[in-house]
Symmetry: C2
Subunit: 404 residues, 2 copies
Amino acid sequence: MSVSLSCHRCETRYDDDTRVRCDCGEPLWIDAETTSFAWDDCGNRSGMWRYEAALPIDRPDGVARAAGGTPLVRSPGLDDVAGGRVFIKDEGENPTGSYKDRGSAVAVPRTIAAGDDVVGTVSYGNMAISTAAHATSLDRECIVFVPEDISPVRLELIAQYEPTVVRVGGEYGALYEDALELSDRLPITALVSDDPARISGYKTALFEICESFAPETPDVIALPASSGGFASGVWLGIRELERAGLIDEPPRLCLVQTAASDPITRAFEDGSTDPTPMSSDETGETIARSIGNPDPPSGARALSAVRDTDGAVVSVTDDEIRAAQRRFAVEGGFCVEPASATTLAGVSRLADRGEISAAESIVLVPTGTGFKELGTGETDVATETVHRTDLADRLESLLPPRGE
Amino acid sequence: MSVSLSCHRCETRYDDDTRVRCDCGEPLWIDAETTSFAWDDCGNRSGMWRYEAALPIDRPDGVARAAGGTPLVRSPGLDDVAGGRVFIKDEGENPTGSYKDRGSAVAVPRTIAAGDDVVGTVSYGNMAISTAAHATSLDRECIVFVPEDISPVRLELIAQYEPTVVRVGGEYGALYEDALELSDRLPITALVSDDPARISGYKTALFEICESFAPETPDVIALPASSGGFASGVWLGIRELERAGLIDEPPRLCLVQTAASDPITRAFEDGSTDPTPMSSDETGETIARSIGNPDPPSGARALSAVRDTDGAVVSVTDDEIRAAQRRFAVEGGFCVEPASATTLAGVSRLADRGEISAAESIVLVPTGTGFKELGTGETDVATETVHRTDLADRLESLLPPRGE
């Protein structure tokens, strides 16, 4: 399938479908082949392949078929802290536990179709796990470039799919550009965070949200922001649905960053169109590991998405993230990773500033399951021990009288 | 909603919907209100609530709405080891990462509707995690009875939802009966593994599988077996679809146990109708922790399910489980827990015995995600370290020439 790509900023169009960046420096995305698109035409395929007509590849085999189709659940227990009517779009319910599967489901088969035998990726988190799973399920080799000092836990999660793991010495952050350059020169495509085909896959999350609300549109969608890739995909989806006449007023995109590394927030507050990369002196440690990106390659596009939809970018602290993660579990029943918990903490800040009203619908998008990060045994939960034979007596004192 | 319950063995019917066991000793299940049921009538609700008309409660709020609706994926890379055409029904893509959510989604709201303020459960694995999540999302207290020596990792997974955790001294296996007795006497309902409402929820996994294949029916469905509860639910679903005329010949139910504790396999091989409980001298350690049940309360019903569908029960060793878990990841792209990997190892044994033929469709049901059990950092993966500036040279030697 031949596709064209275009630049969100200068609107230059390219017919070379191996390009990933515009001459102006901005990342490209893939143009939709059609602007005629109706919910009723989507058929009954499961998951994200319901929107196959709007995607740049035909439905592939393998684990890609299990991507998307995640639930959207009203979660009133979070309304008070969020300041509106909360819905949770649980992207943790993807085959490798994160929204990255939507991107890998499109990008990995597209790379293979383009003739490269080897798929690469620059990640030591959810993107590495997802890319390795999708490549191996299509019987292709995958090379994952990780930092030299990757933790054994992260390594174990990636290694289960048996990619070639290369620890890279030197400045890991510079690998994004290296990967693009190597992909041009060598028979490997390194699927970086804002690879155009990935972005196409991400738009299906927005399609699912909007179809669930149709003919209404949610007022606010809150996403964690790191590279800006997911926000770009959601914005691409909004633009396509607007052109198709399926939404009138777009949802306001609210991006949330960790205060430990928040170049997009800073640019938003400064009124800049481009985030300024943060140096290692300016960034700090955070429990929201998946989103601590000091130099987001799709940062400018993410800022445009926010301004185009009248949204906002906010940063939250680790304490706020911990509190929000607890609320997701205890009020919502959802186990989300810290990076995902930022969404609740972020809208809470916006509500405090009067930017969300109680009647508004807010879709929080936890992008990854928390189950990958639990299991360290680090918990200080209070428990008591009761012998089996004393259990009835102890329970009687714990429980309210029946019927009261 | 008033419901009747009946016994699979003696067919006695009860109108007391708080009963869980028949006078004959067997567990009860909830009778379907109607035998008229057609796929086209199911509407467009998401997840398991598509089959609300066949369930004993109305769709509840909370995390229950996210249960079910898991993907079914053709996975040809596993055909050679399974001996047939493999499909994976990935139950790990439930909100708490296992099929238990289907049961909790029905049983927890039903308990609350019956007037008990407190929900209990006897588990330190997936059922505890799921029950605690569903209870808290409906703002109800949950008490989880765990063994005195529960591992910190398991405790952490359960504790995130903030139930009351009671460590029970004495013989943990005897708690199943204790829990039923306490539920009768005290204002708590302890949702054991074969609670009738849980079984109703489990049948939706079978409905989803059969609807995906309709108008065909899969030849084989392979499940891990522990208490026999999931097998009972799947069998209940088969019976209801047969009565509704939606399937002609039922799929053959194949249950797989860990060789370390396999009373159902032994009874199947002996021709017994009831499994004989295994003593602690007879059972061993296994990596398939979730299914090492020496005294399965729904064991007799699971055996009837197998015989009624012309299926089989087999046991597999930890070495076979490890090999199968690796195949799920490396060929399928799915991260499954060891208990779930038994399904592939089990059908492989059946194929070796000539009980599966190459043209047959085999649905493997990994019941829980492997992500909860990874993250220990125990991996012996081989990696190499390359400095960023040497990466291009090293890659050239790793990669095949472009275009060959």
